[in-house]
Symmetry: C2
Subunit: 560 residues, 2 copies
């Protein structure tokens, strides 16, 4: 059977050799091993080409590959799928909404969570906003098999889960490990150095500040070759301020690190690394643009109290690239890190006072609305700014240069006047022509100085905004479990201690989520303030330069 | 028989009720009397409407109306047309150019003189540049009937002209009176006050400066009515500095004055008055534009040493409009002025030393080339500036406002963030949005401040440039007569005294022409210098205003 993969995101081919893929599209692969982060395969239209390996997940069993025909998605929510659930479902589905069709299963969960109608958990009776609708609405017959979960063995624990489990195994709540953690299935040995503190700040929970803040410079990349010139690649020189030791890293290292971070931190918005590009990888423009993107990325990494300190990132920043053994050792260690996903939450130490979940829910909902609005407005701003840059480079430049040229033509005509007393005027008009041509050039050059950085900023934040639906999903999933467990306790189906455990763990997830949101707002305000100031300063300099040039031209008329 | 008129210039209808006419087109009139400078009639396509009275000449006899079928134009150069010539033509036309067809007559003279191939005088053997080709090239049998011309009676003198006369009675050289003057047919009583001195200046002949320079303000026009509101018109308040008495004048007065000036001064470039407009005459935009045009016109009138001082202009500027009798008296006097056309040259007193005609010819040719180049370049500049203004009003404004709007949308999204510490940033971004919207407005408003005046200037000079072919034509015609007379003297067909008279009179025309060209260059340098300075100053102010606005926006981030 051919190796298949499912596209996780849309990818639009931009270069020859690439092939576009749509989210959820099933692809046939030519091989499992990626080439510099790219996989080769055939999409559902039969088009063959490259696509980023990180945009797809390889399907390793039949169950997964049947997703292709969409028929199993409905099945996933049926209790008859024993692979996904070890507990009994209600024998009778409550028919609380007349328009709800039985076939309307967990498909919604495949979509991005921006849609307000999407649900966090799929079981009837556990959907956040609809929670209270269910009181007394038909029998709820969840059977509690064990009242406590062994921390020692998550694998075993799975088979003795006590509250309903999300049946959609592609749900972020499940995949991130959020569900496993809430249900008490996470286990791992937390070293003191791994402890991550959430403290109560002025505006709510926040990540404890990094006591040893640092930044990291990314110097001009150089083209390197290996295998006697058979393979070439771009190497970036990284110099972190806390070690002052330069290390060389390739894009694939960034890509590897990114994958580790995303895997490890379920409720942290890992900044997206600049996009992959198969062709033109060695072109100056592309390299310069990628470097700028990596600088932005690095800035967000080092600014983050949790990401900045984590082992894999430190290994990436500090391991001498020449010491291949040390590098591989650290790499293997990171890949075998147990404190990822569900276990990551074990490392979080929340503030002493637990949060009020109603307040948390309101905050999260507010943030969700906010991110939607911010996403819309940054998209719009990005389109406007992009068009504005294009206009300045083409239209504005052309207009000023046409005016400049016409002044020059006039001065050339005037030079034929045979009158000595007009020589000064002719020269001044000619200079004015040059001036307007120069102003046209200024307009064309300006966007790279002020609009491009804005677009870089917007791109980075669009990446963050794309992360948040999943983060919110995890927190909402946890909250749903709390509500569910409360109901079970009320109904006598769950003991109070177990419910309190769920409560505590939801508190940890909520603290981490709110700390992350708080961090997002803080760097957002910092970044947008800095970038708006930079833009305005650049614009002021730009218009002052024009004014100066015009003043110079005006002076030429003094003795004309 | 219906009243006919011939179009002197192209007129493109711009408003409903107007009809387009082409140069030389024959029109049928509904009446001879113009309404506010407009005539009503039917063009050759059968379209009925208004056209400017000054664009046509009314045809008052059959001979003129036959121009319609173009058949008489060739006839005009034939000796068998006794109405136009009283002397014998060569019996045999020299066939000096193989491509010259017999039918190629004086049609060329109808065209504008920009074309280098056009001729000044139509008789073979008298064409400027070809003059020497004719030496010994076939017999030249001009018969000299009288050796001296009586100054007492130009009408009688005509019948006893001694050198060839231009056979195209529509030739500017003929119409202007230039030919009549050169041939010694002009006559009139020159009062001391009418004397116009051409002096030798640093750069050649110039008009003697006006010893009593003045300017004239044109204040905001008001709408007036007469016949108890039956008729309304716009009245302009004129205040000349030398009288300080305000007079009211209507557009039709300007139009009348313009016609007098054009008639009177054959080699002076009378500035064109703003264009006529049948509809929308009372609209504010139009009135404001016309007033600006009249100010430019007035500036050129008062700057001109000859025009500024002439009686009809002084009458126009100083006669109390309430004193209808005085106005009519002055009007009648101006219309009966004998010192117009040919006789105008009688009033000119040249510098003592006669000019070197070869040098004059070279200067005139140089100026002709110059005007052609200036005409091309001002046309191009006008088109560019017009387009630039349009772009600023539409495209530039739109781009800045779109950016402003996008910033505002972003600030509105940010206002949903529930974070107190970002209030300052949100307000600053919102202010930045307003700033860019304001900058868009600035761009849209700017052209009326700096590009419109440039277009007004270019329009005025395009009028002057349109005058010069005729002026050059008159001087070239005179020079042709000199060459012709020299040849006649050499051949013993003309006595030396008569030739000297032609020489002297050509010297007067040449002095006046060069003085006018010198004046043109001086006001051109003055006007373009002033206007370029004004434009640059306005642009500097404009960009400083933008910079100031951006600085204001930047400050908002200080405490954000």
């Amino acid at each position: 059977m051919a190796l298949k993969a499912r596209a996780l995101y849309d990818f639009n081919s931009e270069n020859p050799g690439e092939v576009s893929v749509r989210e959820n599209e099933i692809l046939t692969l030519y091989g499992e091993k990626d080439i510099e982060g790219w996989l080769e395969g055939v999409n559902s239209k039969g088009e063959r080409g490259l696509f980023p390996a990180s945009y797809v997940e390889i399907l390793r069993n039949d169950a997964a590959s049947t997703v292709n025909n969409n028929s199993c998605i409905d099945n996933l929510s049926k209790p008859s799928a024993p692979a996904f659930a070890t507990f009994s479902q209600p024998l009778q589905q409550p028919q609380h909404h007349s328009y709800q069709q039985p076939s309307q299963g967990s498909d919604d969960d495949w979509d991005d969570d921006w849609d307000d109608s999407s649900t966090v958990a799929d079981e009837p009776g556990t959907i956040g906003g609809r929670y209270h609708d269910y009181e007394g609405n038909g029998p709820s017959t969840y059977r509690v098999t064990t009242s406590s979960v062994s921390r020692g063995n998550a694998q075993q624990a799975k088979s003795s889960a006590t509250v309903s489990r999300n049946l959609n195994r592609f749900s972020t709540f499940v995949k991130s490990g959020g569900e496993a953690f809430v249900l008490g299935e996470a286990s791992g040995f937390v070293k003191d150095g791994d402890k991550i503190c959430v403290v109560m700040g002025t505006y709510g929970p926040e990540w404890q500040e990094n006591p040893y803040p640092f930044t990291c410079a990314i110097d001009d990349p150089t083209k390197q070759t290996k295998f006697k010139g058979m393979k070439s690649y771009i190497s970036y020189k990284l110099t972190p301020t806390h070690t002052q030791n330069q290390v060389n890293r390739r894009y694939k290292h960034f890509d590897w690190l990114y994958a580790r971070l995303v895997e490890k931190f379920p409720v942290i918005s890992v900044p997206h690394i600049p996009e992959k590009q198969a062709t033109g990888r060695f072109e100056e423009d592309f390299i310069s643009k990628r470097r700028k993107g990596l600088i932005w990325w690095m800035n967000h990494m080092t600014s983050h109290p949790v990401l900045a300190r984590c082992d894999v990132f430190q290994h990436f920043l500090t391991c001498n690239s020449a010491d291949e053994k040390a590098w591989k050792q650290g790499k293997r260690k990171a890949e075998k890190d147990e404190m990822v996903g569900a276990n990551f939450f074990l490392t979080i130490s929340p503030p002493p006072a637990p949060l009020d979940f109603q307040e948390v829910e309101s905050k999260i909902d507010g943030f969700k609305t906010f991110t939607k609005r911010m996403d819309d407005s940054t998209l719009q701003l990005n389109a406007t700014v992009n068009e504005f840059a294009r206009k300045q480079i083409s239209g504005f430049k052309k207009e000023y240069q046409k005016v400049g040229m016409s002044f020059k033509v006039l001065s050339q005509a005037f030079e034929m006047d045979q009158q000595v007393y007009s020589v000064g005027l002719n020269q001044a008009i000619s200079f004015t022509g040059d001036t307007f041509e120069a102003i046209g050039e200024y307009f064309a050059e300006q966007p790279s100085k002020d609009l491009d950085p804005i677009m870089d900023l917007l791109g980075l934040y669009q990446g963050h905004l794309a992360n948040y639906p999943d983060i919110i999903h995890v927190q909402k999933g946890a909250l749903t479990k709390v509500k569910e467990s409360q109901k079970h306790v009320e109904e006598g189906k769950m003991d109070r201690a177990q419910a309190e455990g769920i409560n505590d763990r939801c508190n940890i997830i909520s603290c981490a989520t709110l700390a992350e949101i708080q961090h997002f707002h803080q760097i957002r305000v910092r970044d947008f303030k800095a970038q708006m100031q930079h833009y305005l300063q650049q614009q002021i300099t730009f218009f002052q330069k024009i004014t100066g040039k015009l003043e110079e031209a005006l002076q030429k008329y003094d003795n004309a």
